[in-house]
Symmetry: C2
Subunit: 336 residues, 2 copies
């Protein structure tokens, strides 16, 4: 069933059918109704490919993320997909893993599928070495590229992010103010966002005049879901003679690893060990005591990112970078 069939059965031209299809005003109400009736009767659906060919768009956005099964990224995808759909866009999901070559080929594939825009979810798409960001800049020459929780200063690339530096600074200060002066920054990634968190931590320790040997950092290189391995790393670190009574964790998974560490060492939370996580994801209520965490307003970020993209696609002016503030949600793992 094509537009030709409908036009024939309705006794009009295909142009008229097309007009009805696209809600043009230049059709008499009478013919319009007639055409609509025929369409209904024969269960006609326009061919999306033909449409795409003519209009050069199928209203789809490519979403890339390293690992859609990560709680935080999954939530982001969920929010973004919902908003895109409300705006009449579908999304093609592409999980790239953490390897640059795969990211590049995924990007090219999306471009070749002629998506209208690309959203990079998570900060691990941006590299220190600008050469390695070339794939993004190249993509941005074709379609707008939106970054969630990352920054890249390039034409047609837009960033929406949470002010991780400020919120980590604040969290560190709060912990210090609660009487803890040997704090460990526990992290697992060297991404832009990861570095900003570390900077916030370092700045806070410095501003509170804490000697460098009391501002420790520990890097976890295992799987982001492997809570037992995180606990084990902390135990080993502790056993090696490093002392700390507070942990600022770069995400909630790591914070749970810290809780597990405390449990296994027989430490009481928050008296022997205070913990603050990042992301404020549902994990915070899975543990005991419940986790104090930094809410980085993911839903807000996603909504802003999506509406920016819509603006861009509609030719409106849009700021290249938008930053939101996080907020510490205090629960049982901190003293206050």
């Amino acid at each position: 069933m094509t537009i030709y069939d409908i036009s024939e059965k309705a006794g009009v031209s295909i142009a008229t059918v097309s007009r009805v299809l696209n809600g043009s005003n230049n059709v008499s109400e009478k013919t319009k109704q007639k055409v609509l009736r025929i369409m209904e009767e024969y269960g006609y659906t326009p061919n999306a490919f033909a449409r795409g060919l003519g209009l050069n768009t199928m209203k789809t956005i490519g979403i890339m993320c390293a690992d859609s099964s990560d709680l935080y990224l999954a939530k982001a995808i969920y929010f973004i997909e919902r908003e895109l759909r409300l705006n009449g866009y579908d999304c093609i999901l592409s999980c790239t893993g953490y390897d640059l070559a795969t990211k590049i080929s995924s990007m090219n594939l999306l471009i070749s599928k002629k998506v209208d825009g690309i959203i990079l979810v998570g900060s691990n798409f941006i590299y220190e070495d600008m050469d390695e960001n070339k794939y993004i800049i190249d993509a941005a020459a074709q379609v707008p590229v939106m970054l969630l929780n990352a920054v890249l200063d390039a034409p047609n690339v837009y960033s929406t992010l949470s002010d991780d530096l400020a919120s980590t600074y604040e969290a560190t200060c709060q912990m210090y103010a609660s009487g803890i002066d040997d704090i460990l920054f526990f992290y697992n990634s060297h991404t832009y966002s990861g570095k900003r968190k570390m900077s916030g931590f370092s700045a806070a320790m410095k501003d509170n005049n804490i000697p460098a040997d009391r501002a420790r950092t520990l890097y976890f290189s295992g799987s982001h879901e492997d809570i037992p391995a995180m606990a084990k790393l902390l135990i080993d670190y502790h056993m090696a003679g490093n002392t700390f009574h507070g942990i600022i964790a770069a995400d909630d998974y790591l914070a749970l690893g810290a809780i597990k560490y405390a449990k296994e060492m027989g430490l009481s939370i928050p008296d022997d060990l205070a913990i603050i996580g990042h992301n404020n994801c549902m994990l915070v209520s899975c543990c005991h005591p419940e986790l104090t965490s930094i809410d980085n307003k993911l839903e807000l970020l996603c909504n802003h990112l999506t509406s920016s993209l819509m603006d861009i696609l509609n030719g409106k002016e849009t700021p290249e970078k938008t930053m939101f503030s996080g907020e510490i949600i205090n629960r049982g793992t901190t003293r206050n």
Copy 2:
């Protein structure tokens, strides 16, 4: 840059260019190289829409799921997307929520976008009332529909699932054998899979000759992530005079709710209360003690589902229903 431009610059016809593009053998190595060089030189990429129009496919699969931010569903999507991509298919993600009307319109949208197949992730797409499954049967008239963890007996609909009845039966028997004869089945959905779990529980209690008043069931109607609300429901239930020393939870979230309940009531796990969850997701190691859970082999299911779909699209015969066995992974919340 179109196939015409390339053909002109290479001094061949568009047919030859098309042949090179599609790896046909009927092109001399020499012209092939020439054409490839020109393509490379001008950075030519074929237009996916025109291609789709001609071939009537763009190699995309629609994935529908109620809530992609659910840990378990997110994991499933991750596995499925990975396999589809390995087979050269993209996927369009559609999060439908739990409302039938939205599911129907999402389904229609995917069909109108001309996906090559549709995958329904999770058992909440199937309804008791067969009239409400009509949207699936209609869709299956257009493209193959794959069900993960659900069953619908209809043409062109294929099911891949875990034997929840058997594994819940086994878990219940194991708990009974460990000395607990008042067990609560704690659940939150009336889906096909949910009902099978309940049936397994009931059958096990019956086969062990446990009086009906000791085989309790409790339904949680809140958000699937709201652990505190689950704990609260259990506390209220307990306070109302219901006793139980074991809980079979229909998923790991609910099991965490049970752990929280135990913590708040000062019950020791597993001595005062044993708990078995379902899904064996990463939450099992987030709590203390770690959670005994039924591994329903999600990755295996997803891989099977995807390869079945590929077979179907390639015209191979495929079984309409495949069931895998689950396995109890014992950890700290059970006695044994």
